[in-house]
Symmetry: C2
Subunit: 198 residues, 2 copies
DNA sequence: CATCCTACCGAGCAAGCGCTTGGTATCACA
DNA sequence: TGTGATACCAAGCGCTTGCTCGGTAGGATG
């Protein structure tokens, strides 16, 4: 451990607060999670939370912003701009599904599921990041329609895919019969029929 | 209006309570909706609610049970057991999407979105109805896999479809470019490629 | 050595919550 | 005309909520 920041527990208090909040918001919901629950989990008094965050909603905002930024990072790392539209679609689906079902799954669930709990101002701010994330999707799907890989409207297709992938958090089990890549392949097969691309 | 039941407002108080509760649970969420909000909306005092329902959660239970039962009714009315698996799939998708996006949409959203707010006992009770609703889906999808209309796992396919359709509540606009039947057709096309069935 | 800052404690406030209780007006029915 | 049931009001209880506030221990900095 370093020289400062540890009066109690392991690691910087603020990030431990964020981690526990993510977990509690996920399993109990934002509204049903009290600041006392959160403080107990972290090992501090409830009032001390407000030394780090100005309000309970500021915690939700921080959780969501972290979630969105790391999602963007993963997308940028995984999508090859030189690849074909079909390949990029496969990459986009893999990243999004992996984000929902992997380590960042709880944060992603909070991001999507607790969106209405955010104030209008916070929503507006985070929508800028969200739009940035959606652009590669728009491009890949539009190209797939243009070259005949995908039938129908690309915007509707994106919405349908987003719903299907997000919903996987409610039923996916890491120790189940289907692996993450199995599901990814099935989604790709359903969206753009034909032999699956790499 | 009949002879009894109207002391105030229009129609039986219990059903008005249920209607307003559905709306409030949808737009504000169950937890953020207070019995005082609900009472004000209906035009009675907050305490009077507990003459009709034993608890706030009992209201949620009633909303969800009504929602599930009418969903089952619509399914039964719309699905032809004599039709091919592909046709039945089309019918099932139409019913589910129509339920999400039509008049019963708010109740459906509450049913899916507020499920974690229900007590374990209530969940157990309603799961019996839900299982009944899922059976025709299982059969149609299993048949589609058997006859080659659908590739992949039928259980995963059902989960993906359910997510895609439910998510439509967040983006569908009745006055938008895509009609309900347009979206239904696109989903069918994506799930079972080939010429769309009636 | 004094000063400042950070991170927290301990106590508690005001507001809001679900729900209870006791009472009353109105009806159906005997 | 009396009785019981139904549908509601008026008041408020006990508890929990998000958040505030004065104080303090301890490291860093002049």
């Amino acid at each position: 451990m370093a020289q400062k920041d540890i009066r109690n527990g392991h690691g910087p208090a603020k990030s431990r607060l964020l981690n526990k909040a993510t977990h509690l918001f996920r399993v109990r919901g934002y509204e049903r999670t009290t600041v006392r629950d959160l403080a107990r989990e972290v090992g501090i008094h409830s009032g001390s939370i407000f030394h780090h965050f100005s309000s309970k909603e500021a915690i939700l905002h921080a959780v969501m912003e972290d979630s969105l930024r790391s999602l963007l990072d993963r997308q940028e790392a995984a999508v090859d701009p030189e690849a074909t539209a079909r390949e990029r679609l496969h990459q986009l689906i893999r990243v999004e599904l992996g984000s929902h079902l992997g380590e960042s799954g709880e944060a992603m669930s909070v991001l999507v599921g607790e969106w209405p709990s955010l104030s209008a101002e916070s929503q507006k701010e985070l929508l800028i990041l969200r739009d940035r994330y959606e652009r590669p999707w728009e491009q890949a799907l539009a190209e797939c329609v243009a070259n005949g890989d995908l039938r129908g409207d690309p915007v509707v297709a994106r919405k349908l895919i987003a719903g299907a992938l997000f919903h996987a958090t409610t039923w996916y089990r890491p120790d189940g019969a289907m692996s993450l890549e199995d599901i990814t392949r099935q989604v790709v097969t359903m969206v753009v029929p034909g032999s699956p691309a790499g």
